[in-house]
């Protein structure tokens, strides 16, 4: 017997899918910004020569790299509210889990990228009287980020896909909406196919765009 594909019931719920897509985009953008900027700070601390900075940064990286994001999200949603006197929304719990995990991974990318810049660049900056912060901002990071772009792109893709984990605490995103539609219409095959394709259609153009960015940044080399 051949399976009869029928997508009609899903498109009847396109408004629900749209709400899910917006939820996915929202958590992606927030986690991307938070994860990468926190990652940069932690990476700088890891690169520093001051033990007071490197040690906590290393502990942070190791802790969040070696615990599953899913466990973190569940912990932030179910355990943390018992310890603190305020409510944790599904969005907050998911953002915390995904951002902290991404920060840990991207911190290592930032540290590696910064370390890959020749010491002569630091010397040239110092020789014209630039401070550490000025050299980092004007000389080192612009070159390092260019080299890190492929790795940071991968991080971005990971963050986008990790957003589905937020469904576990009933945050409204694509997978959450898909599960809803599938259980209403008893059509998991079509629904989850649509969800998978939707993710691809989101991510692929994004990845293409970063290729273009990489090429444009590479012009001076």
């Amino acid at each position: 017997m051949e399976y009869q594909w029928n997508f009609a019931p899903i498109f009847a719920h396109s408004d629900a899918l749209l709400v899910g897509a917006l939820g996915t985009l929202r958590i992606f953008v927030v986690c991307l910004l938070l994860g990468l900027s926190l990652g940069l700070l932690v990476g700088l601390a890891r690169y520093s020569t001051r033990r007071l900075l490197t040690w906590p940064a290393a502990a942070f990286v190791e802790f969040f790299r070696n615990t599953p994001v899913l466990v973190q999200i569940i912990w932030f949603f179910f355990a943390l509210p018992i310890l603190v006197p305020f409510e944790i929304s599904p969005m907050t719990a998911a953002v915390l889990g995904i951002s902290l995990n991404s920060a840990a991974f991207s911190a290592e990318i930032f540290r590696g990228g910064i370390q890959s810049i020749e010491p002569g660049q630091w010397e040239a900056g110092r020789a014209i009287g630039m401070s550490y912060a000025q050299i980092m901002r004007r000389i080192i990071l612009p070159q390092a980020i260019r080299r890190m772009l492929p790795a940071l792109t991968n991080r971005g893709i990971e963050i986008f896909k990790m957003s589905t984990l937020a469904s576990v605490v009933a945050y409204v995103e694509l997978l959450h909406q898909g599960r809803l539609i599938a259980s209403l219409n008893f059509n998991p095959i079509e629904t989850y196919t649509v969800i998978a394709v939707a993710f691809f259609l989101f991510l692929y153009p994004l990845v293409r765009a970063t290729y273009v960015l990489e090429r444009r940044l590479g012009r001076s080399d």
């Binding site: 020749e118 002569g120 660049q121 010397e123 040239a124 110092r126 020789a127 014209i128 009287g129 630039m130 401070s131 550490y132 000025q134 004007r138 000389i139 612009p142 070159q143 260019r146 012009r219 001076s220 080399d221």
Partner: protein, 266 residues
């Protein structure tokens, strides 16, 4: 006594020592530099000549000794637990001081993500906080001085080694340094590109700038320098006019060093 006796020393170095772990690279350097001096520092590799230069703008922190710029000692004294005295250097003070002492590196160290003029403008914009238009105009003056005004918008990757080094010189000049340090500026250049860089350095000498140059180009040192220092084992082994040191060295080690560099002609 070196230099002009009526002029106060622009740079005075006393008892300068630098150790890397157990390795004593500089073992007591005394030096006075007067405005307008052109000092060539020569010596075998490992003699400490680059380290001496790098201590003068504090790219390396001296292990002992003191350095005065324009009569003001850099750093401050601190008594150690055992009662002995050491000098400590605040990074902010060194950062300010480095604006006044330009440095040109063997490997150029241009900023590859900036155009030639961007490299020259960087110190003016970021360190001296000059407005963009003013910084650009000034940078163009310096690029013109080194003969590269037409390369202003090129990225370093598209410049030859000699052109890169001339941009690096312009970058140092843009901050109006009182002293210029050259650390083997032609050592990583193809032979046919050495001349254009030396020509720029010679033109700076003619402007009366105060310069110290570490070099293996003994022929150039002879014509360029007002004074030549021969370093060996971390001390100034012999010094004097180019005529004295390069043509009539008194010390056996200087003679042996020069004998190994017979390939130069005056």
């Amino acid at each position: 006594m070196n230099g002009n006796p009526d002029m106060r020393a622009l740079l005075r170095v006393g008892g300068l020592e630098k150790r890397f772990g157990e390795n004593a690279v500089l073992r007591g350097i005394d030096l006075e530099v007067t405005a307008g001096d052109r000092i060539a520092i020569i010596g075998a590799s490992g003699s400490g000549k680059s380290t001496l230069l790098r201590c003068l703008n504090f790219m390396e922190l001296p292990t002992a000794g003191r350095i005065e710029l324009d009569g003001v000692a850099v750093g401050s004294e601190r008594r150690r637990g055992d009662g002995s005295i050491e000098r400590v250097y605040a990074e902010a003070e060194l950062t300010r001081l480095r604006r006044r002492i330009g440095m040109v590196f063997q490997q150029f160290n241009l900023f590859p993500h900036m155009t030639a003029i961007g490299n020259v403008m960087e110190g003016l914009r970021t360190v001296l906080r000059r407005p963009a238009a003013e910084a650009r105009a000034r940078a163009l003056v310096e690029l013109t001085r080194v003969g590269l005004a037409d390369k202003a918008e090129e990225y370093p990757a598209r410049l030859s080694g000699g052109q890169k080094q001339r941009v690096a010189i312009a970058r140092a000049l843009a901050l109006d340094p009182e002293i210029l340090l050259f650390d083997e500026p032609t050592s990583s250049l193809d032979p046919e590109l050495v001349g254009e860089v030396l020509a720029v350095i010679r033109s700076l000498a003619e402007e009366g700038r105060t310069m110290l140059l570490v070099t293996h180009e003994l022929g150039f040192a002879y014509h360029f320098a007002s004074r030549v220092l021969f370093l060996a084992d971390g001390v100034i082994h012999e010094q004097g006019s180019p005529e004295e040191v390069l043509k009539h060295p008194r010390e056996a080690r200087t003679q042996a060093f020069l004998a190994r560099h017979r390939a130069f002609s005056f």
